[in-house]
Symmetry: C2
Amino acid sequence: MNEAAVKTIVTRVLKNLKSIVKIPIGVSNRHVHLTEADFQKLFPGKKQLTVKKELSQPGQFAANESVTVIGPKGEIGKLRILGPFRSNSQVELSATDARTIGVKAPIRLSGDISGTPGIVLRSPYGELQLEEGVIVAKRHIHMSENDASLLGLKQGDVVAVEASGDGRKIVFNDVVIRTGSRFNLEMHIDTDEANAGNITSAVIGRFI
Amino acid sequence: MNEAAVKTIVTRVLKNLKSIVKIPIGVSNRHVHLTEADFQKLFPGKKQLTVKKELSQPGQFAANESVTVIGPKGEIGKLRILGPFRSNSQVELSATDARTIGVKAPIRLSGDISGTPGIVLRSPYGELQLEEGVIVAKRHIHMSENDASLLGLKQGDVVAVEASGDGRKIVFNDVVIRTGSRFNLEMHIDTDEANAGNITSAVIGRFI
Protein backbone atom coordinates (compact mmCIF):
# COMPACT_ATOMS: atom_id res chain seq x y z
CA MET A 1 0.00 0.00 0.00
CA ASN A 2 1.45 3.38 -0.93
CA GLU A 3 1.56 6.42 1.31
CA ALA A 4 -1.44 8.09 -0.36
CA ALA A 5 -3.64 5.04 0.21
CA VAL A 6 -2.66 4.90 3.89
CA LYS A 7 -3.39 8.60 4.23
CA THR A 8 -6.84 8.14 2.69
CA ILE A 9 -7.66 5.33 5.12
CA VAL A 10 -6.40 7.29 8.11
CA THR A 11 -8.46 10.32 7.06
CA ARG A 12 -11.57 8.15 6.78
CA VAL A 13 -10.99 6.47 10.16
CA LEU A 14 -10.48 9.84 11.84
CA LYS A 15 -13.65 11.18 10.27
CA ASN A 16 -15.61 8.15 11.49
CA LEU A 17 -14.08 8.42 14.95
CA LYS A 18 -14.93 12.11 15.17
CA SER A 19 -18.49 11.45 14.07
CA ILE A 20 -19.15 9.20 17.08
CA VAL A 21 -17.57 11.48 19.68
CA LYS A 22 -20.13 13.25 21.84
CA ILE A 23 -18.99 16.72 22.81
CA PRO A 24 -20.45 18.05 26.06
CA ILE A 25 -21.42 21.70 25.67
CA GLY A 26 -20.81 24.13 28.50
CA VAL A 27 -22.57 27.49 28.37
CA SER A 28 -20.49 30.30 29.81
CA ASN A 29 -22.47 33.08 31.36
CA ARG A 30 -20.78 36.48 31.54
CA HIS A 31 -17.87 36.46 33.98
CA VAL A 32 -14.56 38.04 34.89
CA HIS A 33 -11.08 36.70 35.55
CA LEU A 34 -8.92 38.88 37.78
CA THR A 35 -5.27 39.22 38.61
CA GLU A 36 -4.48 38.84 42.29
CA ALA A 37 -3.60 42.54 42.42
CA ASP A 38 -6.87 43.66 40.77
CA PHE A 39 -8.88 41.42 43.13
CA GLN A 40 -7.19 42.94 46.14
CA LYS A 41 -7.88 46.46 44.85
CA LEU A 42 -11.59 45.57 44.54
CA PHE A 43 -11.77 43.62 47.79
CA PRO A 44 -9.30 45.33 50.14
CA GLY A 45 -8.13 43.11 52.99
CA LYS A 46 -9.15 39.88 51.25
CA LYS A 47 -6.26 37.69 50.15
CA GLN A 48 -8.09 35.05 48.18
CA LEU A 49 -11.28 34.23 46.30
CA THR A 50 -13.67 31.86 48.05
CA VAL A 51 -15.03 28.88 46.11
CA LYS A 52 -18.75 28.80 45.39
CA LYS A 53 -18.71 25.99 42.81
CA GLU A 54 -16.08 23.88 41.05
CA LEU A 55 -16.28 24.12 37.25
CA SER A 56 -15.85 21.32 34.74
CA GLN A 57 -12.23 22.14 33.94
CA PRO A 58 -9.95 20.95 36.78
CA GLY A 59 -8.94 23.69 39.23
CA GLN A 60 -11.36 26.25 37.81
CA PHE A 61 -14.12 27.60 40.03
CA ALA A 62 -16.86 30.18 40.34
CA ALA A 63 -16.16 32.41 43.32
CA ASN A 64 -18.67 33.73 45.81
CA GLU A 65 -17.38 37.19 45.00
CA SER A 66 -18.91 39.16 42.15
CA VAL A 67 -18.66 42.69 40.77
CA THR A 68 -20.69 45.09 38.67
CA VAL A 69 -19.43 45.91 35.18
CA ILE A 70 -20.05 49.51 34.14
CA GLY A 71 -20.04 50.64 30.52
CA PRO A 72 -20.88 53.99 28.90
CA LYS A 73 -24.51 52.97 28.29
CA GLY A 74 -25.35 50.84 31.29
CA GLU A 75 -24.18 48.42 33.91
CA ILE A 76 -24.69 44.76 34.71
CA GLY A 77 -24.50 43.50 38.27
CA LYS A 78 -23.52 40.12 39.73
CA LEU A 79 -20.71 39.55 37.25
CA ARG A 80 -19.26 36.34 38.64
CA ILE A 81 -15.51 36.18 39.33
CA LEU A 82 -13.94 32.92 38.16
CA GLY A 83 -10.83 31.58 39.88
CA PRO A 84 -8.00 30.97 40.19
CA PHE A 85 -6.27 34.31 39.60
CA ARG A 86 -4.81 34.94 36.16
CA SER A 87 -1.90 36.96 34.86
CA ASN A 88 -4.30 39.41 33.17
CA SER A 89 -7.77 40.56 34.15
CA GLN A 90 -10.37 39.80 31.50
CA VAL A 91 -14.13 40.41 31.23
CA GLU A 92 -16.10 37.95 29.09
CA LEU A 93 -19.50 39.20 27.95
CA SER A 94 -22.02 38.02 25.40
CA ALA A 95 -22.44 40.37 22.43
CA THR A 96 -25.90 41.12 23.86
CA ASP A 97 -24.31 42.19 27.18
CA ALA A 98 -21.66 44.26 25.43
CA ARG A 99 -24.31 46.14 23.48
CA THR A 100 -26.42 46.64 26.61
CA ILE A 101 -23.59 48.44 28.42
CA GLY A 102 -22.25 50.12 25.28
CA VAL A 103 -18.84 48.54 24.86
CA LYS A 104 -17.47 47.35 21.52
CA ALA A 105 -16.03 44.00 22.58
CA PRO A 106 -14.28 41.97 19.86
CA ILE A 107 -14.57 38.21 19.47
CA ARG A 108 -11.33 36.84 20.92
CA LEU A 109 -9.91 33.71 22.45
CA SER A 110 -9.39 33.92 26.19
CA GLY A 111 -6.05 35.56 26.95
CA ASP A 112 -5.86 37.40 23.62
CA ILE A 113 -6.77 40.81 24.98
CA SER A 114 -4.26 43.14 23.36
CA GLY A 115 -6.06 46.21 22.03
CA THR A 116 -9.44 45.29 23.53
CA PRO A 117 -11.57 47.91 25.32
CA GLY A 118 -11.20 48.72 28.98
CA ILE A 119 -14.06 48.85 31.46
CA VAL A 120 -14.92 49.85 35.02
CA LEU A 121 -15.60 47.21 37.66
CA ARG A 122 -17.33 48.02 40.92
CA SER A 123 -17.26 45.98 44.11
CA PRO A 124 -19.00 46.81 47.38
CA TYR A 125 -15.71 48.51 48.36
CA GLY A 126 -14.83 50.60 45.34
CA GLU A 127 -14.22 50.87 41.64
CA LEU A 128 -11.38 49.72 39.40
CA GLN A 129 -10.65 50.87 35.85
CA LEU A 130 -9.35 48.05 33.66
CA GLU A 131 -7.32 49.49 30.76
CA GLU A 132 -8.19 46.56 28.48
CA GLY A 133 -9.66 43.07 28.62
CA VAL A 134 -13.30 43.12 27.51
CA ILE A 135 -13.98 40.34 25.01
CA VAL A 136 -16.77 38.23 23.56
CA ALA A 137 -15.32 34.73 23.87
CA LYS A 138 -14.56 32.89 20.66
CA ARG A 139 -16.17 29.47 20.75
CA HIS A 140 -13.73 26.67 21.47
CA ILE A 141 -13.34 23.08 22.57
CA HIS A 142 -11.13 22.10 25.48
CA MET A 143 -9.48 18.71 25.21
CA SER A 144 -6.35 16.97 26.40
CA GLU A 145 -3.40 16.66 24.02
CA ASN A 146 -4.05 12.92 24.12
CA ASP A 147 -7.69 13.26 23.02
CA ALA A 148 -6.64 15.74 20.35
CA SER A 149 -4.03 13.36 19.03
CA LEU A 150 -6.55 10.51 18.86
CA LEU A 151 -8.88 12.74 16.86
CA GLY A 152 -6.18 14.00 14.51
CA LEU A 153 -6.48 17.47 15.99
CA LYS A 154 -4.08 19.91 17.59
CA GLN A 155 -4.06 23.22 19.44
CA GLY A 156 -5.43 26.00 17.23
CA ASP A 157 -7.25 23.78 14.74
CA VAL A 158 -10.67 25.01 13.66
CA VAL A 159 -13.60 22.60 13.51
CA ALA A 160 -17.39 22.57 12.95
CA VAL A 161 -19.81 21.25 15.54
CA GLU A 162 -23.48 20.45 15.09
CA ALA A 163 -25.96 20.73 17.95
CA SER A 164 -29.55 19.56 17.66
CA GLY A 165 -31.40 21.84 20.06
CA ASP A 166 -35.16 21.58 19.78
CA GLY A 167 -36.41 23.77 16.92
CA ARG A 168 -33.06 25.51 16.48
CA LYS A 169 -30.65 22.92 15.12
CA ILE A 170 -27.39 24.65 14.31
CA VAL A 171 -23.85 24.16 13.06
CA PHE A 172 -21.16 26.22 14.72
CA ASN A 173 -18.19 26.73 12.42
CA ASP A 174 -15.06 28.61 13.55
CA VAL A 175 -14.71 26.48 16.70
CA VAL A 176 -11.11 26.54 17.93
CA ILE A 177 -9.39 23.53 19.53
CA ARG A 178 -7.63 24.36 22.81
CA THR A 179 -5.50 21.61 24.26
CA GLY A 180 -4.10 21.28 27.76
CA SER A 181 -2.87 18.30 29.75
CA ARG A 182 -5.59 18.74 32.37
CA PHE A 183 -8.43 19.74 30.02
CA ASN A 184 -11.63 17.70 29.93
CA LEU A 185 -13.39 17.42 26.59
CA GLU A 186 -15.94 20.23 26.52
CA MET A 187 -17.10 22.86 24.07
CA HIS A 188 -17.60 26.34 25.46
CA ILE A 189 -20.12 28.74 23.99
CA ASP A 190 -21.69 31.88 25.36
CA THR A 191 -25.34 32.54 26.17
CA ASP A 192 -26.12 34.13 22.78
CA GLU A 193 -24.78 31.04 21.03
CA ALA A 194 -26.66 28.72 23.39
CA ASN A 195 -29.89 30.63 22.76
CA ALA A 196 -29.38 30.61 18.98
CA GLY A 197 -29.20 26.80 19.15
CA ASN A 198 -31.76 26.34 21.96
CA ILE A 199 -29.00 24.44 23.72
CA THR A 200 -29.95 23.01 27.08
CA SER A 201 -27.89 20.65 29.25
CA ALA A 202 -29.43 17.72 27.35
CA VAL A 203 -27.95 18.83 24.02
CA ILE A 204 -24.66 17.25 22.89
CA GLY A 205 -22.39 18.48 20.12
CA ARG A 206 -21.00 16.36 17.28
CA PHE A 207 -18.16 17.02 14.87
CA ILE A 208 -19.35 17.29 11.29
CA MET B 1 -35.94 10.32 -20.81
CA ASN B 2 -37.96 8.69 -18.04
CA GLU B 3 -39.60 10.50 -15.13
CA ALA B 4 -36.88 9.59 -12.63
CA ALA B 5 -34.19 11.08 -14.85
CA VAL B 6 -36.15 14.32 -15.25
CA LYS B 7 -36.65 14.50 -11.49
CA THR B 8 -32.92 14.06 -10.90
CA ILE B 9 -32.10 16.87 -13.29
CA VAL B 10 -34.74 19.18 -11.79
CA THR B 11 -33.43 18.48 -8.29
CA ARG B 12 -29.90 19.30 -9.39
CA VAL B 13 -30.97 22.52 -11.13
CA LEU B 14 -32.94 23.64 -8.06
CA LYS B 15 -29.96 22.93 -5.81
CA ASN B 16 -27.69 24.94 -8.08
CA LEU B 17 -30.21 27.76 -8.28
CA LYS B 18 -30.59 27.85 -4.51
CA SER B 19 -26.82 27.90 -4.05
CA ILE B 20 -26.51 31.19 -5.97
CA VAL B 21 -29.40 32.97 -4.26
CA LYS B 22 -28.26 35.60 -1.79
CA ILE B 23 -30.62 35.84 1.18
CA PRO B 24 -30.68 39.24 2.90
CA ILE B 25 -30.75 38.77 6.67
CA GLY B 26 -32.87 41.05 8.84
CA VAL B 27 -32.20 41.09 12.57
CA SER B 28 -35.36 41.56 14.62
CA ASN B 29 -34.86 43.34 17.88
CA ARG B 30 -37.42 42.71 20.60
CA HIS B 31 -40.81 44.18 19.69
CA VAL B 32 -44.53 43.90 20.19
CA HIS B 33 -47.52 43.65 17.83
CA LEU B 34 -50.81 44.94 19.26
CA THR B 35 -54.46 44.62 18.48
CA GLU B 36 -56.20 47.92 17.91
CA ALA B 37 -58.11 47.41 21.18
CA ASP B 38 -54.96 46.69 23.21
CA PHE B 39 -53.22 49.74 21.71
CA GLN B 40 -56.13 51.97 22.66
CA LYS B 41 -56.12 50.58 26.22
CA LEU B 42 -52.41 51.44 26.51
CA PHE B 43 -52.68 54.80 24.73
CA PRO B 44 -56.13 56.13 25.62
CA GLY B 45 -57.44 58.70 23.17
CA LYS B 46 -55.03 57.69 20.41
CA LYS B 47 -56.66 56.04 17.43
CA GLN B 48 -53.64 54.97 15.43
CA LEU B 49 -49.93 54.19 15.63
CA THR B 50 -47.61 56.78 14.14
CA VAL B 51 -44.93 55.63 11.71
CA LYS B 52 -41.31 56.01 12.78
CA LYS B 53 -39.74 53.84 10.06
CA GLU B 54 -40.95 51.61 7.23
CA LEU B 55 -39.68 48.03 7.50
CA SER B 56 -38.47 45.80 4.69
CA GLN B 57 -41.75 43.91 4.34
CA PRO B 58 -44.35 46.06 2.52
CA GLY B 59 -46.79 47.84 4.84
CA GLN B 60 -44.92 46.91 8.01
CA PHE B 61 -43.50 49.72 10.13
CA ALA B 62 -41.87 50.52 13.45
CA ALA B 63 -44.07 52.95 15.38
CA ASN B 64 -42.94 55.91 17.42
CA GLU B 65 -44.87 54.42 20.32
CA SER B 66 -43.17 51.96 22.64
CA VAL B 67 -44.00 50.21 25.90
CA THR B 68 -42.20 48.55 28.80
CA VAL B 69 -42.50 44.78 29.15
CA ILE B 70 -42.68 43.62 32.77
CA GLY B 71 -41.88 40.06 33.84
CA PRO B 72 -41.61 38.43 37.26
CA LYS B 73 -37.83 38.99 37.41
CA GLY B 74 -37.40 42.31 35.67
CA GLU B 75 -38.54 44.68 33.01
CA ILE B 76 -37.27 45.98 29.68
CA GLY B 77 -38.18 49.43 28.45
CA LYS B 78 -38.51 50.88 24.97
CA LEU B 79 -40.14 47.77 23.51
CA ARG B 80 -40.95 49.01 20.03
CA ILE B 81 -44.50 48.58 18.73
CA LEU B 82 -44.62 47.35 15.13
CA GLY B 83 -47.59 48.17 12.94
CA PRO B 84 -50.08 47.74 11.47
CA PHE B 85 -52.42 46.34 14.13
CA ARG B 86 -52.87 42.57 14.26
CA SER B 87 -55.70 40.29 15.26
CA ASN B 88 -53.71 39.15 18.30
CA SER B 89 -51.21 40.97 20.48
CA GLN B 90 -47.80 39.29 20.54
CA VAL B 91 -44.50 40.05 22.27
CA GLU B 92 -41.33 38.83 20.53
CA LEU B 93 -38.27 38.62 22.77
CA SER B 94 -34.87 37.05 22.40
CA ALA B 95 -34.26 34.11 24.74
CA THR B 96 -31.77 36.40 26.52
CA ASP B 97 -34.54 38.98 27.08
CA ALA B 98 -37.01 36.33 28.23
CA ARG B 99 -34.55 35.05 30.82
CA THR B 100 -33.77 38.59 31.96
CA ILE B 101 -37.40 39.31 32.81
CA GLY B 102 -38.12 35.76 33.99
CA VAL B 103 -40.62 34.53 31.42
CA LYS B 104 -40.47 31.06 29.84
CA ALA B 105 -41.15 31.99 26.23
CA PRO B 106 -41.32 29.12 23.73
CA ILE B 107 -39.84 29.22 20.23
CA ARG B 108 -42.81 29.79 17.94
CA LEU B 109 -43.66 31.16 14.53
CA SER B 110 -45.34 34.53 14.60
CA GLY B 111 -49.08 34.12 15.14
CA ASP B 112 -48.77 30.71 16.81
CA ILE B 113 -49.34 31.93 20.36
CA SER B 114 -51.80 29.42 21.78
CA GLY B 115 -50.66 28.37 25.27
CA THR B 116 -47.78 30.86 25.43
CA PRO B 117 -47.16 32.92 28.58
CA GLY B 118 -48.85 36.22 29.26
CA ILE B 119 -47.07 39.39 30.29
CA VAL B 120 -47.70 42.91 31.53
CA LEU B 121 -47.13 45.90 29.25
CA ARG B 122 -46.80 49.42 30.58
CA SER B 123 -47.24 52.63 28.64
CA PRO B 124 -46.92 56.18 29.96
CA TYR B 125 -50.71 55.98 30.60
CA GLY B 126 -51.21 52.63 32.29
CA GLU B 127 -50.67 48.90 32.34
CA LEU B 128 -52.20 46.07 30.36
CA GLN B 129 -52.11 42.36 31.20
CA LEU B 130 -51.79 40.19 28.09
CA GLU B 131 -53.13 36.69 28.82
CA GLU B 132 -50.81 35.08 26.29
CA GLY B 133 -48.52 35.98 23.41
CA VAL B 134 -44.88 35.99 24.57
CA ILE B 135 -42.70 34.09 22.12
CA VAL B 136 -39.11 33.74 20.97
CA ALA B 137 -39.50 33.96 17.19
CA LYS B 138 -38.67 30.87 15.19
CA ARG B 139 -36.26 31.80 12.42
CA HIS B 140 -37.85 32.05 9.02
CA ILE B 141 -37.51 33.33 5.48
CA HIS B 142 -40.12 35.56 3.88
CA MET B 143 -40.54 35.17 0.14
CA SER B 144 -43.25 35.56 -2.48
CA GLU B 145 -45.07 32.46 -3.69
CA ASN B 146 -43.44 33.10 -7.04
CA ASP B 147 -39.90 33.09 -5.61
CA ALA B 148 -40.75 29.99 -3.57
CA SER B 149 -42.02 28.23 -6.66
CA LEU B 150 -38.84 29.10 -8.60
CA LEU B 151 -36.77 27.65 -5.77
CA GLY B 152 -38.86 24.50 -5.42
CA LEU B 153 -40.04 25.63 -2.00
CA LYS B 154 -43.42 26.23 -0.42
CA GLN B 155 -44.99 27.64 2.75
CA GLY B 156 -43.87 25.65 5.79
CA ASP B 157 -40.80 24.04 4.23
CA VAL B 158 -37.74 23.90 6.45
CA VAL B 159 -34.33 24.83 5.05
CA ALA B 160 -30.74 25.41 6.18
CA VAL B 161 -28.95 28.71 5.69
CA GLU B 162 -25.25 29.43 6.06
CA ALA B 163 -23.97 32.84 7.11
CA SER B 164 -20.29 33.73 7.10
CA GLY B 165 -20.01 36.31 9.86
CA ASP B 166 -16.45 37.19 10.77
CA GLY B 167 -15.07 34.61 13.23
CA ARG B 168 -18.49 33.04 13.83
CA LYS B 169 -19.49 31.31 10.62
CA ILE B 170 -22.70 29.41 11.26
CA VAL B 171 -25.36 27.24 9.69
CA PHE B 172 -28.92 27.82 10.82
CA ASN B 173 -31.06 24.73 10.38
CA ASP B 174 -34.77 24.71 11.22
CA VAL B 175 -35.44 27.81 9.10
CA VAL B 176 -39.10 27.92 8.06
CA ILE B 177 -40.27 29.23 4.68
CA ARG B 178 -43.11 31.75 4.93
CA THR B 179 -44.71 32.79 1.68
CA GLY B 180 -46.96 35.76 0.95
CA SER B 181 -47.80 37.59 -2.24
CA ARG B 182 -46.29 40.83 -0.95
CA PHE B 183 -43.28 39.34 0.86
CA ASN B 184 -39.77 40.38 -0.11
CA LEU B 185 -37.06 37.75 0.13
CA GLU B 186 -35.55 38.15 3.60
CA MET B 187 -34.50 35.87 6.44
CA HIS B 188 -35.49 37.01 9.92
CA ILE B 189 -33.44 36.08 12.97
CA ASP B 190 -33.35 37.54 16.47
CA THR B 191 -30.49 39.29 18.21
CA ASP B 192 -29.20 36.13 19.93
CA GLU B 193 -28.98 34.40 16.58
CA ALA B 194 -27.33 37.41 14.96
CA ASN B 195 -24.78 37.58 17.75
CA ALA B 196 -24.06 33.84 17.56
CA GLY B 197 -23.17 34.32 13.90
CA ASN B 198 -21.60 37.79 14.25
CA ILE B 199 -24.08 38.84 11.61
CA THR B 200 -23.84 42.47 10.57
CA SER B 201 -25.67 44.16 7.72
CA ALA B 202 -22.85 43.11 5.37
CA VAL B 203 -23.48 39.40 5.95
CA ILE B 204 -25.66 37.52 3.44
CA GLY B 205 -27.21 34.09 3.89
CA ARG B 206 -26.99 31.22 1.44
CA PHE B 207 -29.00 28.03 1.16
CA ILE B 208 -26.90 24.93 1.77
